[in-house]
């Protein structure tokens, strides 16, 4: 789950970092009121989950409250388009924050490194840029240190990273507590990414987080009550938001063939198979292991919320999931809602035969392999 900049900055503030003063507004009037309260020049920043916000026109300077009103009016509701987000996103909120005079920009970040199975600290003097670009073009400009989960981020690890990236001696002392606070925030909110980019040296000599990006591990949301309330807000697609509410793993893919299966690997593979058969997958939906009939019914409801779905494919290979339960769920769904599109069902594994028996005499079209099922549904969904 991606947090907005203002949410990430609130967390950093809670962990003692000198975040610039600011508040979030959803109207030009609100932006003006915040600028008045701050009583100084402000930056107005679109709160959207995308890279390249500045270039897309989502970040503007305002010297007076009236200017803040004008730029907020311009940013709010406008579709912001960047190379990273060619479809663009619409900002519903802006962060209005005191403007600071930046002299130097650094990069600091912490993320999960799957290969070493540790969290890693990354620092670079080349702040303000997309770190992935820096990593691709100047990998030597980024210093990386693995953080021992049992030790935490010690002073010496922070020093190793900072010296490694070529930070001046005078910056080691002020930067170390910033890195450590970032790590404490990262661990406390179960993040899998926390970035301050740029981490800015400003004209009065302080080092502050000018921008912040935090991504939360969704597996840990159950124990992050405060962050869980941000979750629905973080999902832009309304069907994905509804699926999330019901605890169903659903990803919208934009095509016409609805796909439901059990197990992430099998569903991903089914999505690939539909594409290979010449179809355009509408979604990924995993009912998980051991799903009962009502879960299957809910899955059908979710997929059918997408009006572009022209056909529905079930691919179930039962281990702890029972084929007869799935069949019951599909039939229940058909009783409670009107499904006009063709449905192809492939059942294999545990209790598959009983399931297929239940589906006899219904309009559902059986298929014996994943390939056959994909070909059939692609044909029917044309």
């Amino acid at each position: 789950m991606k947090l907005h900049e203002y949410q990430a900055k609130q967390i950093l503030r809670d962990f003692g970092l000198p975040v610039p003063q600011g508040e979030v507004a959803s109207s030009p009037e609100g932006a003006k009121a915040i600028a008045e309260r701050l009583g100084k020049p402000v930056v107005v920043k679109a709160q959207v989950h995308m890279g390249g916000r500045g270039k897309a026109g989502g970040i503007k300077l305002a010297n007076t409250p009236d200017e803040a009103y004008a730029v907020a009016k311009e940013i709010l509701g406008k579709r912001l388009i960047s190379p990273q987000n060619p479809d663009g996103l619409i900002a519903e909120q802006v962060l209005v924050e005191e403007a600071v005079a930046i002299e130097k920009e650094y990069y600091i970040g912490i993320t999960v490194d799957r290969t070493t199975q540790h969290n890693v600290l990354m620092v670079s003097l080349q702040g303000g840029m997309d770190i992935e670009e820096v990593a691709a073009t100047h990998p030597e400009a980024i210093a990386t240190v693995a953080i021992d989960p049992l030790l935490g981020l010690t002073d010496y690890m922070a020093r190793e990273a900072l010296y490694g990236a070529g930070f001046d001696h005078s910056l080691i002392r002020p930067m170390t507590p910033i890195l450590q606070a970032l790590y404490r925030a990262y661990v406390a909110c179960d993040a899998n990414l926390a970035e301050i980019n740029p981490c800015a040296l400003i004209s009065d000599g302080r080092i502050i987080p000018a921008d912040a990006k935090i991504t939360i591990d969704e597996n840990a949301l159950y124990r992050q009550k405060r962050l869980a309330s941000y979750h629905e807000e973080s999902i832009e697609d309304p069907i994905e938001a509804e699926a999330q509410k019901r605890g169903i793993a659903y990803v919208r893919l934009g095509g016409t063939v609805g796909i439901i299966g059990n197990g992430a690997g099998l569903v991903m593979c089914t999505v690939d198979e539909v594409a290979r058969a010449g179809g355009r997958p509408a979604n990924f939906l995993d009912i998980g292991g051991g799903a009962k009939a009502d879960r299957v019914r809910e899955a059908v409801e979710i997929v059918m919320m997408d009006p572009s779905v022209k056909g529905l494919l079930f691919n179930i290979f039962g281990g702890i999931t029972r084929g007869d339960e799935v069949a019951k769920g599909i039939l229940e769904a058909l009783q409670t809602m009107e499904v006009k599109v063709p449905i192809v069902v492939r059942l294999a594994g545990t209790h598959a035969e009983e399931g297929l028996e239940l589906l006899k005499g219904t309009p559902l079209i059986p298929a014996s392999t994943m390939q056959e099922a994909a070909q059939k549904i692609v044909e029917l969904a044309r």
Binding site: A264, G265, C269, V271, G289
Partner: protein, 221 residues
């Protein structure tokens, strides 16, 4: 899980899905230390498989976990996979084609797991009951790329592969917490290329796997 590890249980299968990454990181680190300690004292070590995995089956000997036993046939194909149900699909295809399996290991779909491909591949290389290996990967991380390097430099037995998520969009978590293409890393294409370079034939669909196995085995004999 940690209780079992501290009690000296040498093999722990963690089926649980949805464990926070930070917790897994600590647990894996702890298990690693216990493993080293046990081995240093001449013990059997401690191995964690998973989380978010279906467990493992050695045909005719034992099953730990939740794999549906009726699909398996005894034979000499080893299988290691990041996915549960996709494993069943492939085991079923192998059994139908007359290729039984020696051992099948589901290593799990989370970003941090106790046992990775390169932990299992050497065991298959050393296992006299295994003649060829099927590696089933998916998008996210770089374990398949690392496995490709290992296969190229260390393995004599033939390996065939399958990668799911070829059409998955970047930035979206496809069910498994580990199945996400992020920061330009973890695409299916990169994995397929790495494995192909290492001489591992890659199936476009699971049903092609038995044919690939037939080919690599006939080349060998």
């Amino acid at each position: 899980m940690l209780e079992a590890a501290h009690a000296g249980i040498p093999l722990i299968v963690l089926i649980t899905e949805g464990v926070p990454t930070v917790d897994m990181m600590r647990a894996v680190q702890e298990v690693k230390q216990l493993d080293e300690k046990s081995r240093a004292q001449g013990g059997p070590g401690v191995r964690l498989i998973g989380g978010n995995c279906p467990g493992l089956v050695t045909n005719g000997e034992c099953k730990v976990g939740i794999m549906p036993g009726m699909l398996f046939r005894k034979g000499n194909i080893g299988l290691v996979s990041r996915s549960g149900t996709l494993t069943y699909e492939i085991v079923y295809a192998l059994s139908q084609a007359g290729f039984g399996q020696s051992t099948c290991v589901g290593i799990g779909g989370d970003p941090i797991i106790g046992t990775t491909f390169i932990d299992v591949l050497p065991m298959f290389e050393a296992d006299p009951q295994t003649e060829a290996v099927v590696l089933v990967g998916e998008i996210g991380g770089s374990d398949e790329e690392i496995a490709a390097e290992y296969i190229q430099s260390e393995m004599k037995k033939p390996v065939v592969g399958f990668i799911s998520g070829r059409t998955a969009p970047p930035g979206k978590r496809m069910g498994h917490a580990g199945a996400i293409i992020s920061g330009g890393k973890g695409s299916a294409q990169s994995k397929v290329e790495a494995l192909t370079r290492a001489g591992v034939p890659i199936a476009d669909t699971p049903s092609e796997i038995p044919d690939l196995i037939r080919q690599v085995l006939s080349k060998r004999s």
